[in-house]
C-alpha cells in the first residue's frame, strides 16, 4: 500500500518513455521543430528575485545573476539519482551549441540553482559543475544559505519539492519533484517552461532565437 518508489523516478520513466526515440538519436528531436519566429511565446508569469550564493559563497541577487540576458534557469539537487543530471546534461549541449552560434553567444545565461541548501553548499555546487564538465563561462551554479531564502524562490517559480523520508520519518536525502526548466527574457518574464519531454537543446535555442526576433521586431 505504502509507496516506496519516489514519484520523481516515475516521472523520469514516464518522460523518457515518451521521449526515448528523441533522446536516443544524436541530438535529434525525431521531428522537425517549428522555425524560430514562426510562433510566439506569450509571457507566462513574472520571474521572481531572491538572495542566492555563488560557488565562492558570495551573496547575490538572482536577478543580478541574470545580467540582462536570456536565462535558462534549472532547479536541481546534486544528490538526485535521475532527472537533475539529465537536465544538466541537456544544458551542456546548449552551451556547446551556443558557442557555434555568433548571434546567440553572449546573449544567454544558464543558471542552475540547488533546492537542497543543507547538502549543496557553494563548494558542492562548484564540484558538481566541475564533475559534470560544465563550461562555466556563461553558466552559473547557485545555492542558497537557508530554506528561508530558498522557499520564496521555489514558490515564485512553482517548483514544488517534497523531502522524502523513510519509514522512521528520517530524511533520506532525496526529494520528490517535477523537473522544470524556465526560459526567462530580459524583462524577467517567464516565456517557456520545459519538462523532461521537451527539454532539448534545439527547442531551447529556437525559443531564444524566437525571442530575439521578437525583440528585433519591437525595436
Amino acid at each position: 500500500m505504502r509507496l516506496k518508489r519516489p514519484v520523481s523516478v516515475f516521472i523520469l520513466l514516464w518522460g523518457l518513455l515518451l521521449g526515448a526515440p528523441s533522446f536516443a538519436k544524436d541530438n535529434g528531436l525525431g521531428y522537425t521543430p517549428p522555425a524560430p519566429g514562426s510562433y510566439e511565446l506569450p509571457p507566462i508569469k513574472r520571474a521572481v528575485d531572491g538572495i542566492v550564493l555563488d560557488t565562492k559563497g558570495h551573496q547575490q541577487r538572482l536577478f543580478d545573476c541574470m545580467d540582462d540576458k536570456f536565462v535558462i534557469l534549472s532547479f536541481i539537487y546534486t544528490n538526485c539519482s535521475d532527472i537533475c543530471h539529465l537536465a544538466t546534461y541537456v544544458l551542456q549541449q546548449v552551451t556547446t551549441e551556443l558557442k557555434q552560434d555568433l548571434m546567440l553567444s553572449g546573449q544567454v545565461r544558464l543558471i542552475t540553482l540547488s533546492f537542497d541548501p543543507d547538502h549543496d553548499t557553494p563548494e558542492v555546487m562548484r564540484r558538481y559543475a566541475q564533475a559534470m564538465e560544465c563550461d562555466t563561462s556563461g553558466w552559473v551554479f547557485l545555492t542558497t544559505s537557508s530554506h528561508a531564502e530558498l522557499q520564496p524562490i521555489l514558490d515564485g517559480y512553482g517548483q514544488y519539492i517534497v523531502r522524502e523520508r523513510d519509514a522512521t520519518g528520517k530524511a533520506t536525502g532525496a526529494f520528490m519533484h517535477v523537473l522544470k526548466v524556465f526560459l526567462i527574457d530580459r524583462e524577467h518574464k517567464v516565456r517557456n517552461i520545459y519538462s523532461l519531454s521537451f527539454l532539448h537543446s534545439t527547442l531551447l535555442l529556437n525559443d531564444i532565437r524566437t525571442l530575439l526576433l521578437e525583440e528585433g521586431a519591437n525595436r
Partner: protein
Amino acid sequence: MYTKKWAFLITMTLPFLFIYTANADETCLSPYMAKITGHEDFVYVWTLGAEGLGDSSDKLVTVDVRPDSKTYGMVIHSVSVSGRNEAHHGDFTDDRRYFWAGGLDTSQIFIFDMYSDPAKPRLVKTINDFVKRSGGVVGPHTFYALPGRMLITGLSNDTDLGGRTGLVEYSNEGDYIVTHWLPTTDNTRGAIIEKLADGYGYDVRVLPRRNVMLTSSFTGRSNYMTELEKVMQDPDAMKRFGQTMVVWDFHARKPKKVLHVPGTPLEIRFAWGPFQDYAFTSTALTAKIWLIYADDKNEWQAKPVADIGDPSNPPLPVDISISADGRCLWVDSLMDGKVRLFDVSDPFHPKQVYEKVIGSQLNMVSQSWDGKRLYFTSSLLSKWDKKGKADQQFLKAYDWNGKELIEKFTVDFYQQKLGRPHIMRLGAYALYNIEPPKAASADQGRRQEN
C-alpha cells in the same frame, strides 16, 4: 561521480524498466503530470448538483479506495462550490497539487488544493471571468496539464453559443496567458483542410515525442444545455455537431491539418508505447472507433476501424480508456449502459472481446495503470441524462481479472444526496509524501451496500 555516460545510460535503459515498474494511475493523464506509482487512495468525482438534492450545488466528492481502510468504497468528503455550473471535466496541474474543474454552463473554473489534505480537497480559487479573458471562449471542458500551465479546451463561444471555440492557456497560478482559436474553413490559420474546418472543440491530448497535439469536436452551448430529445428532433441543431479533429504543431500551437471525422469525435487516447504513433477516439453519433495515426510518410490520417454496438441503433459512446500497453480499449456508451472491451493490439482491426451492462446509463470510465481496477460514473450532462427510473446516478468500482469485471462497490449518488457524478481522477497521499492517517472508522464514511 557525475558523468555524461551516466546520462546516456539512464536515457537508454529506463524506458524499458518503466514498463515493468509502473503499476497504478490512469492512462488518460497528461504525460507532464506527476504519477501515482502504487495503489490509488482516492477517487475524486466532480459531480453536477441536482436541484432539490442535498445542497443542490456542484461538488468535488472524495471516495476512499484504500483496500485496507474501514471506509473503503465510501464517500469520506465532499466540497461544494457555488450553485450549479454544469460540472463536467477537471484535472490536476502538472505537480498535482491543484485540481481544476470547470462548469460548462457558467464557464466558471474552480481550483482545489489537493496537497494539504488529499482526503479533503479545499476550494482555494474561482475563475469567473474566463469568457472575458479568453476573448469569448465558452464552456471550459478538458483541463490538460502542461509544465507550469493548464491548457483548457472550450466547447463554445459567446457570439452565437455554437461550436466554434478555442484552446485557452492559464498559468498554474490561475492567470490567463493566451487563446488559440480553432481553424475554420474561413480562417484556416495555415492548416491543411481535409474536407471542412468547423472550428469546434472538445478534448485535447499531446504526444510529446512527435510534437503532436490532437483536438476533437463536440457541439456548442446552444445544444449541450438543451434537452437531448429536443436537440435530436431539430434538424438544424443536429447540423451543429463536430465532425473534425485537428492535428497541431504542439510547440508552436499551430494547427497543421484538419481531419474529417464525422459523427462527433469525443475523447482522445494516445497509445503509450514508444513506437506507437497513434490515438483512438470514438464518435458519439455514429458509434465508431476511429484511429488517428501517422502513416508511412509521417502524415497524420484518420480512419474508422470498428463499430461500437449495432450501427443501426448507435448506443452513444461517450468515453474510452486505453490500457497502458495499448492492447485494450474500454468503451462506455450512454444509451445501453454498457462497457465494451476491444482488443486493439492491431489498431487497424479492433475486435470486441467483452461487454457488460454497468447500469441503466453509463458515462465515464477510469482505469488504473495496471488495468486491474476500473471505475465508472453515470452522468453525461444534466439535460442529456435519462429520465425517471433510468436516471441512475452512481460511481461503481470493479476489478478486472482478464476475463470479467468483478464488482467491488457502488456509491449511489442520488441516495447520498450528492448529485450526478461525472469525471473521476485518482489521488494518493504518497504524491505529497504524506503518511496516511490511521484507519478511519466506518461511520466516518458513507457507502451504498450491495
